[in-house]
């Protein structure tokens, strides 16, 4: 655990990157973890070509939560800029743990994974819109 609260996690918790809102997002979504009261909203803007999603151009998140969930969200937004829809959907729990560089107990794993869940669902919303155009 001494490892869990190491410098870079605390740094992302206290100074979250890409924190805030986007003006014209392709999609946005807010999810709660009712067990602990975490809430995370993601907004993403895809680069579009002929109404088709290309890569993530901009991404912002907001909300509140523990150091693990906030740091995970902050790092994730940095990681996924420039990725395609498919690459985002292919991300797994393993990738998140690698990104955080820590091992987590099952109860804390939920905190770490919530941002990825929100991101993938937000991207799926953008995909739905694309299909409707």
């Amino acid at each position: 655990m001494d490892n869990l609260y190491r410098e870079n996690i605390l740094d992302h918790y206290k100074n979250p990157r890409n924190f805030g809102k986007l003006k014209n997002p392709s999609a946005s979504l807010k999810l709660y973890n009712s067990a602990c009261g975490d809430e995370i909203e993601m907004q993403i803007k895809f680069q579009m070509t002929n109404d088709k999603l290309q890569i993530i151009k901009e991404i912002k998140f907001s909300g509140q939560g523990c150091a693990v969930s906030m740091a995970s969200a902050s790092m994730l937004t940095e990681k996924v800029k420039g990725l395609t829809f498919q690459k985002i959907q292919n991300l797994t729990t393993k990738d998140i743990l690698k990104m955080l560089g820590v091992s987590l107990s099952p109860s804390r794993l939920k905190c770490a994974i919530l941002p990825l869940e929100v991101l993938q669902k937000t991207a799926a919303l953008a995909k739905e819109k694309e299909n409707k155009v």
Binding site: Y5, C36, Q64, A67, V68
Partner: protein, 408 residues
């Protein structure tokens, strides 16, 4: 006065080391630990007496039946019920409340009738009533919680009317530890012609309760929050009311005569206890009550009051800590919810766990109260008979460690 060092020796789990540190268990509002007397009652029952009850003629069946009914009698004595027939065994406090909602509520409530709850209810005394709003069109009204965490009885008085059929409130809040004035609330309910129910999940483990003095119509409680096993609790109801209520679940043991097209119900309390009950846990619940009676509930109350007072003073002295609810132990006991500035409760709980300290973090199954008081998720420390001032000192050290780690 409690002999704490003697009590601690009765709890095998307190010898456990967590991450190499002595276990300091401060999550008693969630569930308490079990003394060896309760564990022994379970082992003895299964080793020597196990049988199904109310059926067999053989010796084991007779013994098991007697032990099960003795446990019921101990609970009846413990809360001063007029007869053991007023004690219905259920799985837990939640099920006891559901029993009243499903059996009494469905039979006696109709559209536009009103049920009054409080804003500080555990989800267990809110969600079941919401079912009846959807099903019957009853209305729920709520006694507001003031900024200090106390129930606003002036507003309560105005909520009461001819339409009020039931008032159901928590005795001790599982978030704020506030002790609600149930005698007064019940008296006002009865004057308005309504019934009165108490959620005693947090109060029965830590203060003397006399249902005839409180004059409640129903009382719900769980065994596991008062040294007993999980999976056993009870509903107390006044005999006349229980007589008038239809069964909750159908099956064996709750019937007197069964035909293919109809059945006649058994008498109290069996009418509400369909199927083979949780015999072993009921017997061990009886052992837990013996243990508590032996210590004396007034002594337990005083012990927790002292600890709460001590912990409040220590917590309030840390500038980064915010305590919720009354700031003195006068109107509260046993439970303290707090937060540490800029550190999420999950992180506080995790850092404390590393020190061997178990606390709860989150909404504590009372999300509406958190919303009303605009609380984020909180940390909760709750005490019981085996906790000491030293445990609280360790808690403070752990909190200070978290503050240092987060550099706030």
């Amino acid at each position: 006065m409690l002999n704490i060092s003697k009590i601690i020796k009765d709890f095998p789990i307190l010898k456990r080391k967590i991450h190499g540190k002595r276990l300091i268990y401060l999550d008693n509002a969630a569930t308490t630990q079990k003394p060896k007397q309760v564990i022994k009652a379970l082992v003895d029952y299964y080793s020597k007496h196990n049988a199904n009850i109310h059926r067999g003629i053989h010796t084991l069946a007779e013994e098991a039946t007697k032990m099960h009914e003795e446990a019921r009698g101990k609970i009846a004595d413990f809360i001063h019920a007029s007869t053991p027939r007023e004690i219905i065994f259920v799985r837990n406090c939640t099920e006891a409340i559901n029993l009243v909602v499903y059996s009494w509520g469905r039979k006696f409530l109709q559209r536009h009738d009103e049920v009054i709850l409080s804003e500080s209810e555990h989800h267990s005394n809110l969600v079941p009533w919401q079912f009846l709003v959807a099903e019957l069109g009853i209305k729920l009204k709520f006694i507001p919680v003031t900024g200090k965490g106390l129930l606003d009885l002036n507003v309560y008085g105005k909520l009461l009317s001819k339409r009020t059929k039931m008032v159901s409130v928590v005795h001790i809040s599982n978030v704020l530890g506030t002790v609600n004035p149930v005698e007064k609330i019940g008296e006002m309910a009865h004057k308005a012609g309504a019934l009165f129910m108490i959620d005693a999940a947090q109060s029965l483990p830590r203060m003397p309760i006399d249902v005839t003095k409180i004059n409640c119509d129903f009382l719900a409680a769980s065994g596991h929050k008062m040294l007993g096993p999980t999976g056993i609790g009870f509903l107390y109801g006044k005999e006349k009311l229980l007589e008038a209520m239809p069964p909750f679940l159908g099956g064996g043991d709750m019937i007197r005569e069964v035909y293919l097209d109809h059945s006649l119900w058994n008498g109290l309390p069996y009418k509400f206890e369909a199927g083979t009950p949780n015999i072993a846990d009921a017997v061990a619940y009886g052992a837990a009550i013996d243990y508590l009676k032996n210590l004396g509930l007034s002594n337990i109350f005083l012990h927790e009051k002292k600890l709460t007072d001590y912990a409040l003073k220590k917590l309030l002295a840390i500038p980064q800590v915010t305590v919720y609810g009354p700031k003195t132990a006068e109107k509260r006991t046993g439970v303290i919810s707090f937060s540490v500035r800029d550190i999420h409760p999950h992180d506080v709980a995790q850092i404390l766990d590393r020190e061997g300290i178990a606390i709860r973090s989150g909404f504590h199954c009372a999300m509406p109260l958190h919303q009303k008081l605009k609380l984020p998720a909180t940390c909760r420390a709750s005490f019981y008979i085996y906790n000491t001032e030293e445990d609280i000192d360790q808690l403070m050290e752990g909190i200070n460690k978290a503050i240092k780690m987060f550099k706030i």
